[in-house]
């Protein structure tokens, strides 16, 4: 493990213009440290803030200058306190000078490691680079950058820089341009990577929070033929970072046991069918392979003797037009072929082929056996990856393609063969065209939104956040998804409201009807997607009026048998009105109750409240009309009991303002609630239940 040990210094700009994104900076940096606590326990971290009110760093003491830079934590092995440091960054009131900060960072690293640990030291700079940096005492700023780059190179220090700029008017363009060109100079003169992001969400994804040292899948020849070979190294380009595997917990250990592991082990025992008490030892077990209804026993040795054993090697089958391979045939995570590092001839050869492939729009088909003894072959497609950075060679991406056995050739009806009632007319097509055109995530100014490269995994973000929360507060609830992470899972309200007219037009042009469910269909299909449409409406607020009027038309003449998600109120009323069987009333009430429960259960920060209130109102009215007050009262009290102590409690406050009370005796004689009690809900209910 120690082989991969790295040291990171975080240089964080906390100057005034950064205040709005500091929560995300705190978050992404804590994540980095948290992951180190789990995956890289011996890694070292240090934190430096700049743009602070105070000044605290050794360089200032030694040589003067370097003001408004605070070394928050010197370099040292990560520990639990490190996370704490990052969660409450002081907000500074001075423009930060990132060049000074870099120098302080380098100083920390040099003092700590001297000439050792080359190549495993990293400086991460997060800034908006909006303020001019100070003129150096001698020479130009460019000279200064050159000197610093030189120093970084001799000490093997890398620089990762994230420049975060939200679209803010009024910034000094000239200064930003100068700063950007200074930063770019780093990437030319030293090992540095500069990333520009323009949203807090991208910021969360821009910093590599986990340091994985990649291993090659294959090192050897890419054989164009038996005589022409190119030396390449193959790595994984993408690989899913999985949700951490948690251990099963056992609380059986004695409290005094200091070395308790609390783990639960899983044991497997193989028992014979005839005699369930007899355990069959491993050496008496043999593998059986299914073949239709038969099971064929084969011992490992036999299998080894007959199985498919291809020779190791990566061979070219040929080139083909890129259009022959459709994108959806890519099967797995992606590999990258890079020319053997340092081998100039291989670099040129890869570059020539990659560029020719790019020019002619061709792909190469390869057959790969990565290791000797691998039991199968891989067929895949090689695509050129032309490097845009001077000191990175050209390379290839490799995607695995399916075999015949992996493809199911289902036949689908042609869209043209559908009845005309399913075909969009000209006007509808235009509305769709506009929607596709306007909901553009690649604005002409600014960066592409939600680029995979800068989009963090919201589930992992939430897990690590919750993990840290729980370490301080063991009974904490799962926190709701952060606002910036919701930008990944849900449409951006800003984009959607900005193009409201386009969306409304689309809405007007198309009509959707929920079909009454057949009785046969199982209830299961409905679970998991309750409140679906309502949540949408919660987000988009005002648009809901439209929808109901649009969708109403048909529910009247169909016998509604089910409360759907699109227009529950109408469904409910239609069901209540059905006279063909008495069961409909009770069914309607039951389903409406379920619907309201579902809505509330899935509501997030009250986004489903308005919908739920609409439904409750309808339910209340229906229960009075049908003389079923008890049903309603019982339900409302039940809801209250269930959720009064949760964050849904504010829903009940809303109820009284909307005049949704318990049904009193005055309204329905069957009720056993007095008018006064009804009015005092929920206050009174509390007393009653106690």
């Amino acid at each position: 493990m120690a082989r991969n040990k790295e040291a990171v210094v975080l240089l964080l700009d906390v100057g005034p213009s950064m205040h709005s994104v500091l929560p995300e900076v705190e978050r992404v940096c804590s994540m980095l440290v948290q992951k180190k606590l789990i995956f890289g326990k011996s890694d070292e971290v240090g934190f430096v803030l700049f743009g602070t009110d105070d000044t605290y760093n050794e360089l200032q003491k030694e040589v003067g200058g370097y003001e408004h830079i605070v070394v928050l934590r010197n370099i040292g092995v990560v520990d639990g306190n490190a996370v704490g440091f990052l969660q409450n960054l002081p907000r500074g009131n001075f423009p930060g000078d990132f060049i000074d900060a870099i120098v302080v960072g380098i100083d920390l690293l040099i003092k700590k490691f001297g000439p050792t640990n080359k190549g495993k030291q990293r400086i991460c700079l997060i800034t908006d680079a909006k303020y001019p940096i100070k003129e150096p005492y001698e020479g130009t700023k460019e000279d200064q950058v050159n000197t610093i780059s030189q120093m970084m190179q001799t000490h093997g220090i890398r620089l990762d820089c994230i420049v975060i700029r939200e679209k803010l008017p009024g910034a000094d363009l000239r200064v930003m341009e100068e700063n950007d060109s200074l930063l770019d100079q780093f990437s030319r003169k030293a090992i540095a990577k500069i990333v520009h992001v323009d949203s807090p969400t991208s910021l969360l994804g821009a910093l590599k929070t986990r340091n994985i040292s990649p291993v090659t899948v294959f090192r050897g020849d890419l054989e164009l033929s038996s005589t022409m070979k190119i030396k390449v190294w193959v790595y994984k380009k993408t690989s899913e970072e999985k949700f951490p595997t948690l251990k099963k917990y056992s609380g059986k250990a004695h409290s005094s046991d200091k070395f308790a592991t609390y783990e639960v082990k899983v044991d497997y025992e193989y028992k014979s069918m005839e005699d369930p008490d007899k355990v069959v030892p491993p050496e008496q077990r043999i593998r059986g392979y299914r073949y239709g209804p038969q099971v064929v026993p084969i011992s490992s040795a036999e299998w080894e003797a007959v199985k498919f054993k291809p020779e190791k090697g990566v061979k070219l089958l040929g080139f083909t037009d890129a259009s022959n391979i459709l994108r959806h045939y890519y099967m797995k995570d992606v590999y990258i072929f890079i020319p053997e590092p340092g081998n100039q001839k291989a670099i040129v050869a890869v570059s020539a082929i990659a560029r020719a492939m790019k020019d002619m729009n061709k792909s190469a088909i390869l057959r790969c056996v990565w290791r000797q003894g691998q039991g199968n072959v891989v067929i895949g497609v090689l695509r050129p990856n032309i490097s845009s950075v001077d000191n990175i060679p050209d390379s290839f991406y490799f995607n695995v393609l399916p075999f015949v056995e992996d493809v199911r050739e289902f036949q689908f009806p042609s869209f043209r063969s559908f009845p005309s009632s399913w075909q969009p007319n000209e006007q509808q097509q235009e509305a769709a065209d506009n929607l596709v055109k306007m909901l553009d995530l690649t604005p002409s100014e600014g960066e592409e939104v939600l680029q995979p490269d800068y989009t963090p995994n919201p589930v992992l973000e939430r897990f690590y956040h919750f993990l840290d929360l729980k370490s301080k507060q063991p009974d904490a609830d799962v926190p709701p998804l952060d606002r910036n992470l919701r930008g990944i899972t849900e449409p951006d309200p800003a984009v959607f409201s900005c193009h409201k007219s386009v969306i409304d037009n689309f809405h007007k042009n198309f009509e959707l009807k929920e079909k009454p469910k057949k009785k046969k269909s199982s209830k299961r299909a409905w679970r998991g997607k309750p409140s679906a449409s309502s949540e949408e409406e919660g987000v988009d607020g005002e648009a809901s009026g439209f929808q109901s009027s649009n969708l109403m038309k048909d529910s009247s003449n169909i016998n509604v048998e089910k409360i759907g998600n699109l227009n529950p109120v109408q469904d409910f009323e239609a069901m209540m009105a059905r006279r063909d069987s008495s069961k409909w009333v009770s069914k309607a009430i039951k389903e409406m109750q379920n619907h309201v429960s579902d809505l509330l259960e899935n509501s997030y920060e009250g986004d489903a409240y308005s919908k739920a209130i609409e439904c409750l109102l309808a339910l209340r009215k229906g229960c009075i009309l049908e003389q079923e007050p008890k049903e309603f009262n019982r339900f409302l009290l039940g809801l209250y009991e269930k959720w009064k102590d949760t964050d849904l409690a504010n829903f009940f406050e809303l109820l009284s303002s909307k005049n949704i009370t318990l049904i009193s005796q005055k309204e329905a004689p069957d009720s056993n609630v007095t008018e006064e009690d009804a009015k005092n809900f929920p206050v009174k209910a509390e007393l009653k239940s106690q």
């Binding site: 951490p244 899983v266 099967m331 001839k345 289902f410 990944i488």
Partner: protein, 629 residues
């Protein structure tokens, strides 16, 4: 031994199996009903050369392939094979002209076995002698072999409830007018009876599908008789089947595709904007096929073993219940999570597909991939109007060259997906790519690795190919061109071998099958002079004239480069020289070896590559053994 060292065939976790397996587990019972009339044995192609291929052969071929696919897919579907218009009869009802094909150890309608596949594959060889072919419906006779066939098929499908099982009859024939040879009242009567029979079967929940075989010069006219039998109306007749392909292979292809039953993974809601929420079905068109799970058997009885799982507390050794609490070590503490909390963390969305916006197709990079894609196709089953919206968006996306970015909140792994519209592509063998959208699972930044930067050096600028080198490479690309390459033209050699071995063992054969590896490069093609020249020119252009020589030198330098190896070599040389100056055989003969020093003895041993360890006696005896004394 690890069967699958890379885990390429294995799913990583339980939850992942949700992704790879289809929910729709309905079993299927299929009766293959094959017309065996003499007409089926006529030449199928219009071409004189294709005489050997008959329609009967095509049908047998298709069924064979489908049976094999079923056994590999380890499905629980059950099949029966039944011929009609035969000389011999074999069926429970003892009806004329119908022969139910079966092998030992198998019910008539049962899962396919190795034996069935093997014997069915060779059925043609002995068909004429064992089963025989003749027209079953001829004038002057009351026999109606088609009626009989449907009756037998229906009887075969009697088992199992139509609710849990889907039952199908697949009818292969090249006769579009089965009652053409008879006239008058008998004809109308027979047609009526046959249609009634088919209707009865359909009322019992059995679907009848027709797989017509035809010759290019005479099409199969569905409307003569079969349209009514199948219950086709109006437009459906014209859409029934694109005219038979030019080539027989195309027809085989078409039939094979039509034999599959579509199975959807699930129905999901696709929310577009402002509560517009349409419904789509998802299909797993591409998933890696694995050799199937293994079972543990008792090696003595070959009977399956029962696996029992137990949970043991690691600290006390006590048996515990399956825990509902998990933990993760963090900051020297143990942080506990309940299963509820874990599922809450993972639930970031409500299981739907949420549209986020659109991007130009070139924003979808080659490395934006993690898993096989999922196909989506609209359905109007529950939300009427879904298809119309889907088609409109599909067209716009195709025209504007954009893909939709959406968030798919599945329980397994909520993630961003790209929805890429795919227009329908048809070829000579029918539909090649269905119209719809492909859902491509995008990686998060956590999943992308910046490997390129790993070997970045600050001062060295990476060389790029010159225009001339690129030109040479282009010439090479043009030479080694796979013109009509189509994805998945290869069978998986590992899988083919796996099943070949299993089939041989299941049938008790000793001979292991020889599976051809189709994935090897075409050495012959690559050694064509044009290609060799292009390769050579490219090689010289990027590597220079003497590359091979340099490489050989470099390799040689590496081989004898190290200090130790050079020393070892020198020692061996001296030993050989020194050793040659003694007459070992004579010394051994006279027992004089013991007079030599250890150093001298070692000359011999080193020269003959023998171990040089041990005491003097050991060395001497080793020399003697080596001399054969």
């Amino acid at each position: 031994m690890d069967l699958d060292p890379e885990g390429l065939f294995r799913d990583d976790s339980d939850s992942e199996s949700e992704f790879y397996q289809e929910k729709d587990f309905t079993k299927e019972f299929v009766v293959y009903l094959v017309d065996a009339s003499p007409k089926m044995f006529g030449a199928a192609g219009s071409d004189e050369d294709e005489k050997t291929d008959t329609h009967f052969h095509v049908a047998i071929n298709c069924i064979s392939q489908s049976l094999k696919a079923q056994i590999i897919g380890s499905s629980y579907d059950e099949v029966a094979v039944c011929f009609f218009n035969t000389k011999e009869k074999k069926n429970l009802q003892d009806l004329n002209g119908v022969y139910v094909f079966n092998v030992t150890d198998r019910e008539c309608l049962d899962r396919p076995t190795a034996r069935l596949i093997k014997e069915f594959f060779y059925v043609e060889d002995t068909f004429m002698s064992n089963i025989g072919s003749r027209y079953g419906i001829v004038s002057g006779s009351q026999e109606n072999s088609l009626y009989n066939a449907l009756w037998v098929a229906q009887a075969l499908l009697r088992k199992g409830s139509s609710k849990s099982v889907s039952k199908r009859i697949l009818l292969f024939t090249n006769e579009d007018d089965p009652f053409g040879s008879i006239t008058g009242a008998t004809k109308t009567d027979m047609i009526r009876m046959t249609l009634q029979r088919a209707k009865d079967a359909q009322d019992l929940g059995i679907s009848i599908e027709l797989l017509p075989l035809s010759r290019p010069d005479e099409g199969f006219n569905v409307s003569i008789f079969y349209a009514e039998l199948l219950g086709l109306e109006g437009d459906e007749i014209s859409h029934f089947l694109p005219s038979a392909g030019e080539k027989l292979e195309d027809m085989t292809d078409q039939l094979r595709k039509r034999m599959f039953k579509k199975r959807k993974v699930k129905t999901i809601r696709f929310s577009i904007a402002n509560g517009i929420c349409i419904e789509v079905n998802t299909y797993a068109l591409i998933r890696s096929t694995s050799p199937g799970s293994i079972m543990w058997l008792d090696s003595i009885t070959n009977l399956p073993l029962k696996t029992e799982r137990s949970f043991v507390c690691a600290d006390t050794g006590a048996l515990v219940e399956e825990p509902r609490i998990y933990f993760h070590p963090y900051k020297n503490e143990i942080i506990k999570f309940s299963t509820d909390e874990l599922s809450k963390i993972k639930k970031v969305s409500n299981g739907q597909l949420h549209l986020l916006g659109f991007k130009p197709l070139d924003c979808l990079k080659d490395y934006h991939n993690l898993r096989p894609s999922t196909f989506i196709f609209p359905t109007d089953e529950e939300v009427v109007g879904s298809t119309r919206i889907f088609i409109a968006l599909h067209r716009s996306m195709l025209r504007l060259q954009r893909f939709a970015l959406a968030f798919y909140g599945s329980l397994y792994r909520p993630q961003l997906v790209a929805l890429v519209a795919q227009d329908e592509i048809t070829g000579s063998s029918g539909q090649v790519e269905p119209p719809g959208m492909h859902m491509i699972y995008l990686p998060y930044s956590d999943d992308i690795r910046h490997v390129e930067e790993l070997h970045m050096s600050a001062d060295a600028i990476a060389p790029r190919a010159t225009d001339d080198q690129i030109k040479k490479a282009s010439a090479l690309l043009r030479r080694i061109d796979l013109k009509d390459f189509s994805v998945c033209q290869f069978t998986n050699p590992a899988l083919q071998r796996h099943y070949g071995i299993l089939q041989a063992l299941a049938l008790g054969e000793d001979e292991m099958p020889d599976i051809k590896d189709e994935t090897l490069p075409d050495e012959e093609g690559l050694s064509r002079p044009g290609i060799v020249r292009a390769l050579q020119e490219f090689k010289i252009s990027v590597y220079g004239e003497n590359y091979d020589q340099e490489e050989a030198n470099a390799a040689a330098a590496k081989g004898c480069g190290s200090e130790a190896s050079r020393k070892r070599k020198a020692m061996a040389e001296t030993a050989a020289r020194e050793s040659a100056s003694y007459d070992w055989a004579d010394l051994a003969e006279n027992g004089k070896l013991k007079d030599l020093t250890v150093v001298e003895l070692k000359y011999y041993l080193t020269a003959h590559n023998l171990p040089v360890t041990g005491k003097k006696e050991a060395l001497i005896s080793r020399i003697l053994t080596h001399l054969g004394k």
